[in-house]
């Protein structure tokens, strides 16, 4: 391939060569950054994953032991995988559904639509740290606003964040609330759906549900797929909010993959194992994404392909 690239380079005219060179020069800041800060760490992580490395002493090569230990004998890894898969399976779809419904709602002609759009988008621009603090003070069993109301009414409080069974559903609700970015993308897509399709459907006697199911969803399906993939990738890397809100607890119920990776790397000084964890996560994410892409033809409608076909 390299040879053909060079052959191709030789066949270029002077002007084309000059343009190519200029292109490379202009993109070089990004290219250098990509090589230094993405490619090199990725490759270095492969090496470190095959070593016992505690950051302070030189790494010792131990082959595939880190991978073997994680898969065969690490009990916490199994808990972490269970928590993470639960989270990925529920948070990405529920996030997309929430964002899509919010966008659909805000695409209708309602009074104060701009204000509502701003309100729904607001969680996306608030720093996660602030979000965590607000939710903590809303949901805390002892001092939270919601529980304070329950307490005033003489009712039992609800341990949203301190009960192992309730904490993950609580995080799911917070995740559904913080879908401003996906909502804006959906909103733009919804505004691009041709009005003529709805008009034709109305003439054919379709009701609102039929239009939503047979026009809105298919027309938005490529964007649904995009948001779903982004949601899945983000869910696998879920870290900041559970770290700030629960620190992996209670009783390890929110000990997600990224938290465990961080603990291994910086708290327990097992950088080799952390690198192995990072690579396993990378592979899982890639496999997941490929499966989604491969199966997407069954549920994604591309209008442009139909036009070509």
């Amino acid at each position: 391939m390299t040879v053909s690239v060079f052959r191709g380079f030789r066949t270029l005219s002077y002007r084309e060569r000059r343009n190519l060179l200029l292109g490379v020069i202009f993109t070089s800041p990004w290219l250098i950054g990509f090589l230094l800060w993405t490619v090199y760490p990725l490759l270095a992580a492969i090496y470190y994953s095959l070593t016992r490395y505690d950051i302070m002493r030189p790494p010792i090569f131990i082959g595939l032991k880190n991978y073997k230990d994680l898969i065969t004998s690490d009990e916490t890894f199994r808990i972490v995988m269970h928590n993470t898969l639960y989270w990925v399976a529920l948070s990405a779809p529920s996030g997309v559904i929430s964002a899509f419904l919010m966008a659909t709602l805000l695409n209708t002609r309602i009074l104060g639509r701009s204000l509502f759009r701003a309100i729904f988008f607001f969680p996306a621009i608030v720093p996660v740290f602030v979000t965590a603090m607000v939710w903590r003070y809303l949901l805390n069993i002892q001092y939270g606003a919601i529980n304070a109301v329950l307490q005033e009414l003489g009712l039992s409080t609800i341990p949203f964040l301190s009960n192992p069974q309730l904490v993950k559903p609580t995080l799911l609700v917070i995740n559904m609330w913080a879908q401003g970015n996906a909502m804006v993308i959906f909103l733009a897509t919804l505004q691009d759906v041709p009005r003529s399709l709805y008009e034709a459907a109305t003439v054919d006697g379709a009701n609102a549900w039929h239009k939503f199911w047979h026009i809105t969803i298919p027309m938005c399906s490529p964007v649904i797929l995009f948001n779903l993939i982004m949601g899945f990738i983000g869910s696998f890397q879920y870290f900041t909010l559970p770290w700030l809100l629960t620190q992996g607890g209670p009783n390890r119920a929110t000990e997600f993959y990224a938290l465990y990776l961080y603990r291994n790397a910086f708290q327990w000084l097992r950088m080799g194992k952390a690198a192995a964890l990072a690579w396993i996560l990378f592979i899982i994410t890639v496999v997941f994404t490929v499966i989604l892409f491969r199966t997407s033809a069954r549920f994604v409608y591309y209008a442009s392909e139909e036009e070509r076909g």
């Binding site: 016992r52 505690d54 950051i55 302070m56 002493r57 010792i60 230990d69 903590r136 003070y137 805390n140 069993i141 002892q142 001092y143 529980n147 307490q151 003489g154 009712l155 039992s156 409080t157 341990p159 964040l161 301190s162 009960n163 192992p164 809100l245 629960t246 607890g249 209670p250 009783n251 390890r252 603990r263 910086f266 708290q267 327990w268 000084l269 097992r270």
Partner: protein, 460 residues
């Protein structure tokens, strides 16, 4: 030359030169008026001073450094050693570790993973520097000094915050309101549990209003360089430094885990988590200062910190011995430990930085630290000058040095202190949530620690 016409380009050049010069002049420091007496020349030229990078994981040391500069001890330190101290505080563990890995550590630093650092060879031994210095080992509390060595070599000097770390502090007002006698505090865990029950209150809907003791809060829950309270209270060594063997899977440990779990079960594990999340706020003693928690196991700093943070609570603070099981009634144990200055091998001036250890163990500097933070060193000459009645409860810690009949200090175990801490927290939670017995918990910890010790390469 004079005949030359002034072109537009020349004009612009000239104007930009004048403007740039003017701006530079405006930015320059004001010139000393001619009539004014010339400023005194600094004693040492800044350029000749060796810069010493001093990092701490605590915050607020840059401000404290300004107070240090006003002391004679500091002037003597600068002039005598030709050093320039550059303090960076609030340095995270990640930052410390990244700099160690990159070969750019500070010259001197305080970071809580002391034994990890000693065992992993990133520090420079200082035995010769100590011998040649003004520091005298016998002037320090023995436990604190001992903790600064690993395998026969000295790596640290106790500093900034050390002294003793075991005391059961209680809020006398809450105790009295619960119908208990604050002059007869609990001595055994059974008595402490009775106090805990009397002090724990729920509303009619079953919601927690206040509680007696979270035995795992603050010093009660650590398993680090600050020791391990269960082992001290129940009286067993959990690690043998000579053989590298762990002794965690034993009846005393199992009993300790079960006994302390009972305290949490009475509060309710979900309630405890919530209190930790808010009242704790990430700082120790938050629930105590909020008067939600009536008792807390804390070090000597608790009286001083409470006085600074919540003076009204400080007034009703008292301290006594940490409880022991009935079988050890009469044992009054105390733990000496805390923090130290370490000198990093790969730094630019680790050996030149040694006088910092002398500086922070001077009367003036110790006094500033005590006044600002309520922290005490392990340096006896300063301890002798402290008025223990200044903060309610502090006198107990001073008396305890003389009255204790069992001294403890940190076990020299190389296992990552954060690993110990996290696994201990996981296991004790599983126990008080009823998923594991104390015996199973002890066995689990033994297994986890042995595996990790081996995996970290300390035992084949």
């Amino acid at each position: 030359m004079l005949d030359r016409k002034l072109s537009r380009r020349d004009f612009l050049k000239g104007v930009s030169g004048v403007v740039a010069g003017g701006m530079l002049a405006a930015c320059a420091p004001p010139a000393t008026p001619v009539s004014q007496k010339p400023a005194e020349a600094p004693a040492k030229s800044e350029a000749k001073l060796t810069p010493i990078k001093f990092w701490t994981f605590w915050g607020g040391f840059e401000e404290m450094h300004e107070d240090w500069k006003k002391t004679d001890a500091y002037a003597k330190f600068i002039d005598g050693n030709h050093l320039k101290l550059e303090i960076t505080s609030d340095v995270s563990l990640e930052s410390f570790l990244s700099n160690i890995a990159a070969g750019t550590p500070p010259d001197v630093g305080v970071i809580w993973i002391y034994l990890d650092l000693m065992a992993k060879g990133v520090l420079t031994p200082i035995d010769d520097l100590v011998a040649a210095s003004s520091l005298k080992p016998e002037e320090f509390l023995e436990g604190n000094w001992k903790f600064c060595s690993y395998k026969g070599k000295q790596y640290g000097v106790p500093a900034l915050e050390a002294f003793v770390r075991r005391g059961l502090n209680y809020n006398a007002r809450m105790v009295e309101e619960a119908g208990l006698d604050p002059d007869n505090p609990p001595v055994t865990w059974d008595e402490a549990l009775a106090w805990h029950k009397a002090l724990t209150k729920f509303d009619s809907a079953g919601n927690l209003i206040q509680f007696g003791l979270d035995p795992y809060d603050a010093e009660g829950g650590v398993w680090s360089s600050d020791g391990f309270m269960i082992a001290e209270s129940w009286g067993f060594d959990w690690f043998d430094e000579n053989t590298g063997e762990f002794n965690i899977d034993n009846d005393k440990m199992a009993e300790g885990l079960e006994t302390l779990a009972e305290f949490i079960r009475i509060i309710g594990p979900d309630n405890l988590d919530a209190v930790r999340a808010v009242a704790g706020q990430g700082t120790w003693g938050g629930a105590f200062n909020a008067e939600v928690q009536a008792m807390i196991i804390e070090g000597y700093w608790h009286p001083g910190e409470t006085a600074h943070e919540k003076p009204e609570v400080s007034k009703v603070n008292r301290a006594t011995w940490v409880p022991v099981p009935e079988s050890r009634r009469g044992t009054k144990f105390q733990f000496a430990g805390g923090h130290m200055l370490l000198f990093f091998k790969d730094a630019e001036h680790p050996r030149e930085a040694f006088p910092v250890a002398e500086l922070v163990n001077t009367q003036e500097i110790c006094d500033i630290i005590f006044q600002r933070n309520g922290w005490l060193p392990a340096w006896k000459p300063f301890l002798e000058t402290v008025d223990p009645s200044i903060y309610p409860g502090l006198d107990f810690y001073f008396k305890s040095i003389k009255e204790t009949n069992e001294w403890w200090h940190a076990e020299p175990c190389e296992l990552s202190s954060d690993f110990r801490q996290t696994k201990f927290a996981e296991v004790r939670e599983a126990i008080y949530r009823g998923e594991m017995t104390g015996k199973e918990g002890a066995k689990k910890l033994q297994q986890l620690f042995e595996e990790e010790y081996k995996a970290a390469g300390y035992k084949s």
